[in-house]
Structure formats: C-alpha cells, structure tokens
Symmetry: C2
Subunit: 393 residues, 2 copies
C-alpha cells in the first residue's frame, strides 16, 4: 500500500496507561484538500470545535490524534490543550499550527495529560515515515479488539492512485471511551467541490448507516485528505473517473464501517437490515434504523430467535409510512411474513436456522414505493452489558 | 376499595398455557364515559383497531382482556376473533357487542386460541362480581413479576368517589410478549370533555414519561371508564373538584407507571431523570428521554458507575437546545458538573455512593429557560438481555 506524499508515525505517550501506541501523526508533504464530517452532538469535544474551524481553510497538512482521553467536557483548558498539541507538532514539522488537525478519543471530562504528550511529541515528529497507516490504526484503538484498515487502488487518466483509511469504533460510539473516528487519505487529485460531495455521500452510506447502540458521541469525526501526489489529471464532476473514484471511496468507507460493526462491543452477530419498497429513501432509512437500534430486536438476534414480530413492531413505530397488510419480511431468503401475516409452515424452523448464522440479512419490503436503505448492526449480548457496566472499574 | 357500579371477573382460559388467570372482564352496570389513549405504532393489533372505533361512541359498558396472546399481525382473522370475543361476552351480559371493548397482550403473529376462549366465556360471565380488580391485575400479567394495582379516594360536592386502576408492563413494551396496558375505573361523574383532557394529561405525565427499552408496542392501550355511580354532582372544568380529581387521577396513573418501571425486565435500579432549565418543556422531555433510553447510560446505572459523561452526551444528541458551558448535573444532591465541567474533589466518590442505591435521581439543569420534565427509567442488566434473548425458548 503506497499512498504517495503521505507519511505516518505512531508512538507511546502513555495517555491513559503505558504499553501501547496512543499518539499518531498523519502528514502530507504538500497541502491536501480536506473534507470532513463531524458529530451532530450538541456537546462537542475541544478537538472537534477546533477542527471545525480549521477545515474551513479547505486544505490541511495532516492530523495528530491520541487515544486514551477524549479531551471532551474539558472547557477552556481542553481547547488550549488541543491548540498546544497542534502547535508543538507543527513547530517540529516546520508548518503553521492552523495547517494541522487534531482528534482525541478516550475518557471524557478529564484534562489531557499534557506533560506526557509534550514529552512524546519529539519522538512523534522524529519517527515520521518510520510507521505505517496500520500503526495509526492500532494507535487510535480504545475498546476495539482489532485495528481497522482498508485500501483500494484506482486509475484516473491512466495514472494509478490509492484510497486508504483507518477507523475506530467499538461502541457505535462511547461517550466515555468515546467515539467513531475515521481518517481517509488519498493521493488522487480531485476537484475540491466534488471531493466534498463524494465524501458526504460516502459517509451517509457507511458510517451514518451503522449502529451498535444508537448513541452519538461528542468526538465523532470522519476526515478525508486528498493531496494529488499521484499526479493524475484532476478528477472532475460528471466524468467516468469521478464515478470510479466515488465507487472506490464508498468501498473503503463501507468496509471500515462494517469492521466497526463486527467489532461492536460484545457483538456475536453481523446483521444487514434492508428496508425496500418504502415511500421514500428517507422512510426506508428511518425504518431500518429503528429496527437496528431496537434493544428487543438486538437481544432476539443474540438469542438466535427468529422473532419477526419485534422487527415488525420497530418498523411500525419508526415513523415510516406502513400499510401493515402489504408488508413482507425475510431472514436471508426465508420469507417469514407475507401480506403482513406469518407465512407459517416451516418458516419458523428455517428462520431460526438463519438466525444461528454469524452473518445474516433482514429484509422488509413495505410495497409502497421505491425507497430503499440498508443499515448494518450487531446484536445486544451479555458482553455488551458487561463491557459498558464495568468499563471504568 | 369500593368502586360503585363496577364488577369484575377473571378466569383461566389457558390462552398460552394452563394454570393461571388469563381472561378478565371489567363491567359497568351503567354506560360509562370512556377516555382512551392507544399506541402510536403504525402496526396496530386487531383489538386496538376495534377499540379505536368503539370508543368513538363516547360510552362503554366495559372491557374483556386476555393475556398470553396479543392478537397482533393476525389480519382479518384477528379482527373477526376480537369481534367474536366481545359478541360472546356481550350476549352473556345482555348488552350490545359494540358496548364492549377488548384488549390482548402476549405473543404476536399467532391467532387467538378461540376454542379455548369460547369455552371460558360462560365462566367469565357467570362469575362476574366474584373477582376483584386485583384479580384483573393478575390476569393481565405477562413477564410482569408482580400485579400492578392502585386506588385513591376523593370527594366531589361532598360525595366520596374512588379512582382505581391496574396495569401491566415488564418491557416498556414487548412486541412479542407485548404491551403496556392500563385500565382505570372511577365511579365519579365527570363532564365528558374534561374527562378526555384530564386523562390525556395524566397519561402524558405517567405512561408517556416512563421507558424501559424505548420500544412502543402494537397493543399499548390506556383506558378510563367513568360511570358516575358515586352520585356526585358532575365535576366540571375549572372547578376545585376538577383540580382535585385531576390530582387523584395523576397520582393513580403515575403510581402504576412507576410500578411498571420497577418491574422493568431485569431492572435493579429505579431512576427518576429530571431535566430542568430547558428552553421548553418539550426540549426537557426530549433530553430526559434520550438519557432514559441510552443503552450506555443504562448499563452504567447497572454497573453503579457515576458516568456523567454518558448522560451529558445523551442530552447533547437529544435535539434539545444545549449550551455546554452552562449545564449542571447532579446524582441525587451530589453535583457532578458545574458550568459544563466536572466538579472534581470527592464528587466521583460521592456520586458512586448515590449510584449504589436502588432508587436515585439524575438532574440536569441546562440554565436556558423554564422547561422541565421528569422521566422514569430502569437500568439495563444481564437479566434484560437474558429475558429478551431467551424469551420464546
């Protein structure tokens, strides 16, 4: 995996505890176009507030990120710490602090241990280029059980380019351990307005289409840096190269999003929930999200119980338009409900077989229109409760 | 507890299995004013659809209710079964079938065992007056671990009257085992329009202010029958008697609602969440509900973890207006957050002490206005997962 013009480093700063990589740097040798999507939570962590300002510049040289501490609910000191972190790293790199973005994930309400971060920054800058994007993926983990990394190659105007990314999740977000983070880098040259649009669309179909527990954190951030170092002719809207780039970007983000769900806290199942035949795409997404977030549905998945009634009820309260006697429901290709009624026969036994698998699909067809949406979710297990009940102890 | 002009019966129909009361009748000797609130779920069970029609008459002679089967997602047959049930009971009572309401709670998507219900109806009608409202409370239980019953006495124009009610819950609702049901009877005479208004208000502050898992069932029903048999001068809007009646009605409903939360599936905690100082009451309720429904918050309650960050984050994504640096947060009277920041000192230790209690309060003050709302919830425990994962096995 070669992403031209990007270098990486990852070091141990012992932000929360020693013994692991927890401070990382993504650096672009030239200013990169930046696209970003931040948490919609009204309570935003200091690095999110700072980045929201800095991405307005349109370009960035990179990102410094720590795990172990979210720098959230830390007030004026939190903002000052975020600024100082970028200033120290930028000074080491010989760039302006405003050219650097910053992210944090971890415990909430506790100030960053700045003395340890200050001490680690010379090594972070000094080892730049000695680490890989995979090391960055490791450094941003919190309760994640595996690093999340994905890359795809493409060609534009005959010139090869790469799109690669890392992510962390675990809970859909954990306000305490905090956050869904995703950082994508590409050496492709892309028209700025097109890049923004494609990134927003890709986030909608990936990170905004997964849910582990329905909570939204103070730190959620998805960033894309495109530095054009591949040397391809700039990809412009409406071109075949734009369509190809969009497909590659979508693939990378969707794969990272799926990895987050698979690593959902305590997850034993990976379930793709599709609602089709809805009155609109928005209705389909509302209904799919209601199913994906229902604790009753998710405990039934954990219990391997082909409990279509709970899914039906969640669709019913989602706010989507529903005509009960038109709806169909499938587990994989086993039809459980036709015209709003249980199909009977061996459906219960065959549906239960599907639920015993680790990966399966739920499809609801509302037969009202062309609206369709797919959402990815996990089950709700004893371990989810254990991880979240015992987390700080 | 004497509610004039009402009689009750409860028998064993073996709807799901033998060995318990599961078919009950509430009967008023004279037509009673009826007020009703039904599920907002777009998927409604047959008895809900039938009752929605019948309450339009404005009066009713009573209600027949079964547990063990929700008669939901049962199509035309479900509606025909609901009608037949009321027709058979009404014939036994010598009243018109349209004068009788019907409720069902239990498994979804399975037709009612009508042969067993038909067989039990003569005993149901024949033993009318031999059972108490407490027997009705037992007969409507599903996964409830105790019957829910409450009554209060009042006086209007010097004449005593009673308001009494029963409820069932367990999950906030379980689309499979199904439903929050509440049936309230009073012998007070109340102006019809006033009765409707007071009942809607009381439901809003009670059954619509509790949550166990955030799901809304296909069968949720709250009914009030007021038959005037106490002989009081009719209670009219704006009077002192109306205010007193409203207070009593609110007390009965709120107490039943709290019993439902205490009996929430797997609940080990009872938590009253108040959001005050919100921009509006609606904002306060949105924020309190987001906290009460957050799986992360509820697992922290179970873990006795004074994790104010998760509560703060839930308020943040609730959609309510929030200015982070104004907010305060308390566990009972222990202040954890001031001006959006952790208060420090011994707050962590004292907050943890509060969380160790079985009953405690969470108060968030947004310092933005006069909006206030209190919502009641339970924790999310291993047993919630166990009960809901293993339910049908």
């Amino acid at each position: 995996m070669d992403i031209k013009g990007f270098t990486f480093s990852a070091v141990e700063a012992a932000v929360k505890k020693p013994g692991r990589l927890d401070l990382a740097l993504i650096y672009s040798e030239v200013p990169a176009q930046v696209a970003a999507v931040f948490t919609t939570n009204a309570v935003k962590a200091a690095p999110v507030l700072l980045d929201e300002e800095r991405v307005k510049r349109g370009t960035s040289r990179g990102l410094v990120v720590n795990s172990g501490n979210a720098n959230a609910c830390t007030g004026a000191r939190g903002m000052s710490d975020a600024k100082e972190t970028t200033a120290l790293v930028a000074a080491g790199l010989g760039i302006g602090p405003e050219e650097l973005l910053v992210s944090s994930t971890g415990v909430i309400g506790v100030p960053l241990p700045m003395e340890r971060i200050r001490s680690a920054i010379p090594a972070l800058v000094g080892t730049l280029g000695k680490s890989t994007l995979a090391d960055v993926a490791s450094a941003i983990m919190t309760t994640d059980t595996f690093p999340k990394l994905q890359s795809r190659a493409g060609v534009a105007g005959g010139v090869p380019y790469t799109v690669a990314g890392v992510a962390k999740g675990a809970g859909m977000i954990m306000p305490n351990m905090a956050t869904m983070l995703a950082f994508i880098v590409t050496d492709a040259a892309v028209e700025p307005a097109l890049l923004q649009q494609l990134f927003r669309d890709a986030v909608d179909c990936s990170f905004n289409s997964i849910t582990v527990d329905g909570d939204t954190s103070t730190n959620d951030t998805a960033l894309l840096l495109a530095n054009g170092a591949a040397g391809n002719p700039v990809i412009t809207a409406g071109s075949g190269d734009a369509a190809a780039f969009a497909a590659i970007l979508n693939e990378v983000l969707l794969e990272l999003a799926k990895q987050i769900v698979r690593d959902g806290e305590g997850a034993t199942k990976f379930v793709a929930i599709t609602v089709r035949g809805a009155a609109s795409d928005a209705d389909a997404k509302k209904a799919a999200m209601a199913v994906a977030n229902s604790s009753l549905v998710k405990t039934a998945f954990f219990g391997q119980d082909a409990n279509w009634g709970r899914i039906f009820a969640a669709v019913g309260y989602s706010g989507a338009k529903v005509e009960q006697l038109k709806a169909e429901l499938f587990f994989d290709d086993v039809q459980m409900v036709r015209n709003g009624l249980f199909t009977g026969g061996d459906a219960e036994a065959r549906g239960t077989e599907v639920l015993r698998k680790k990966d399966f699909t739920v499809t609801v067809d509302l037969h009202l229109g062309d609206g369709i949406s797919t959402v990815y979710t996990s089950d709700l297990s004893y371990d989810y409760v254990k991880i979240n009940a015992d987390y700080r102890t």
